[in-house]
Amino acid sequence: MTTSIRKIPAIKRFLVGDVAKRMVATGIVILAFIIGLNVLAPYLTPNKPTGARADGQLFRPFQEPSKDHIMGTNDIGLDIYTRVLYGGRVPLLVATFSTLFALLLGVPLGLLSGYLGGFLDKLISLIMDSLFAFPGLILAIAITAMIGPSILNTAAAIAVIYVPVFFRVVRSQVLSIKELLYVEAAKSIGESTLSIVFRYILPNTIPGILVILSMGFADAILIEAGLSFIGLSTVVPPDASWGLDVAIGRNYLLSGSWWIITFPGIMLIFATLGFSLISEGLNDLMNPKLSE
């Protein structure tokens, strides 16, 4: 019969555990590569960050990938390879700010709500559950459309989606941690509530927070790109951003200019994959239940 109902031998357990570690490692390598490209961009291309020539002149537009332009040129004659190198800065920056905002709001709320319980907990949970149920992208579209896109505004709009995610994960962990003996002990020696929550409970929620953090990065990159696609781009041409370039390429699909959308899209996938592999791997390492 299948192995899944037999007790799985130790060697298999090791293999599965290893998959999780390999996922995290692969994710880190992908991210290091992407961040490396963005940091080293000035050394990897002679062109300007917008993709124009070093003297500011444009190239011939709509060139297919060739020896001169390995990823071709776009509709106004900017080098796509250069734009791909520099195009990660905006999404990565937006993702960093948005997860940071969400973390700073969601984690303390989750800690206090879970620890204190009572009416306050019920109220905050109801609010967070309502926000959580709402389609994140649509919320981000609404907010960005009203306050206008910019790195901080877009980051704030995306953060609103992730506050309840941090909140829920932290709160549910606090609910079980606060029953543990060492918390009891801290209470008995007269530690203040704030000290118990932040010094005793918070450190034990960090692994869970890390999983959400890297998932948040992945989602933020996708949402930033999605906003760019529907015309709420964080930056305007000729500034480079992967999502913006995919959006621009849409206008030239029918003429078959595949290279305009393909390369920035692949970079988006890589960056998101890096973060989501880390998140997935960490999650497996923390919940070995399914890997037993």
Partner: protein, 333 residues
């Protein structure tokens, strides 16, 4: 708690949730920086123009009255009038929404058709090569931007191979009976039109379906691994039943229950994905409506559309909870 009591408690919970979400929309549209009047009229507007527009939009009264008017309006199904067309927004939404439903249902079908078999396969080959490949597939489809996948499919199957139409919804039936055009084709007996509209539906539905299939794949795998370890499955094995019988009649049936709830919870993700898919394929649904009205700065329409999405989410989560409570009495405890 009886089922009836549960329904009442759950309904009472839906009300504050509705009010809260409506308030969030109100805060976004009316209170956040970025005044709609300035956005609509631009920087060179005279104060008189601003006053007139404020009156037209009902923005000249105190903010708490605006809030009360707005909440009362929503509960009466009144979302205001579009600034662009002058037509009541609820009427416009109901015109676009059925197309979104068609796309979403088709995409859900694709997602389940891909996700469940792959999930079963992964669980049967647990921690072997197939399992790892399926999991990688699930992780990868999740991170592909839906609009990018859509455009690549448009390029390959629409522009180069010319198998499917690049974009659009295709011809509409001669008569609108149910509002769902695909159903209407069948009802008026226009099979040719039906086939044609399916050819327009294939690519958008596959795009959106593939992206969300990862979620179902992962869940099926998890639940199948769990149910295959249960005593009754082990008992079935020891009775010498065929492997296929055990998988499909014993394990999958029980693994499907949590999946039903997941389908409901995925509606939110489906709607969000539908917005981008619709824009990619110029599909005349609610997402395209929302995005085009953002471009036209038709703020009442944008607000109405978001409110409508909020209401759908609340109604769906209500139905899901009731279904689950009905199927699994422990929820009601």
């Amino acid at each position: 708690m009886t089922l009836k009591a549960y329904i009442i408690t759950r309904s009472l919970l839906a009300l504050p949730m509705t009010i809260f979400l409506l308030s969030v929309v109100f805060i976004i549209v009316r209170i956040l920086p970025g005044n709609p009047i300035d956005l609509i009229l631009g920087p060179h507007a005279t104060p008189e123009m601003k006053t007139i527009l404020a009156q037209r939009l009902g923005l000249d009264i105190p903010i708490y009255l605006q809030y009360l008017h707005y909440i009362a309006g929503v509960f009466q199904g009144n979302l205001g009038k579009s600034m662009h067309t002058g037509i009541p927004i609820s009427q416009e939404i109901l015109q676009y929404f059925p197309n979104t439903v068609v796309l979403a249902v088709a995409a859900m079908f694709v997602a389940l058709a891909i996700g469940i078999p792959l999930g079963v396969l992964a669980s049967q080959r647990f921690s072997k090569t197939e399992d790892i490949i399926v999991r990688l597939f699930g992780a990868t489809v999740y991170v592909i931007p839906v609009f990018w996948l859509g455009m690549i499919l448009q390029l390959v199957f629409g522009v180069y191979l010319r198998i499917f139409p690049v974009a659009g919804i295709g011809p509409l039936p001669s008569k609108s009976l149910t509002g769902l055009y695909i159903l209407d084709f069948l009802l008026v007996g226009d099979l040719q039109g039906f086939a044609k509209s399916i050819s327009y539906l294939v690519m958008p539905a596959f795009t959106l379906g593939l992206i969300i299939s990862g979620v179902f794949m992962r869940l099926t795998r998890t639940y199948m691994v769990e149910t295959m370890r249960q005593d009754y499955t082990v008992a079935a094995v020891s009775r010498g039943l065929r492997k296929q019988t055990i998988i499909y009649k014993y394990a999958l049936r029980n693994a499907l229950l949590p999946l039903v709830t997941m389908i409901g919870l995925e509606i939110a993700g489906l709607l969000a994905g539908a917005v981008l898919t619709e824009v990619t394929f110029s599909w005349p649904g609610l997402g395209t409506y929302l995005v085009s009205r953002i471009g036209l700065r038709d703020y009442p329409a944008v607000q109405g559309c978001i409110v409508f999405f909020a209401v759908i989410v609340i109604v769906v989560s209500f139905i899901v909870d009731l279904t689950y409570a009905y199927l699994d009495p422990r929820v009601r405890l």
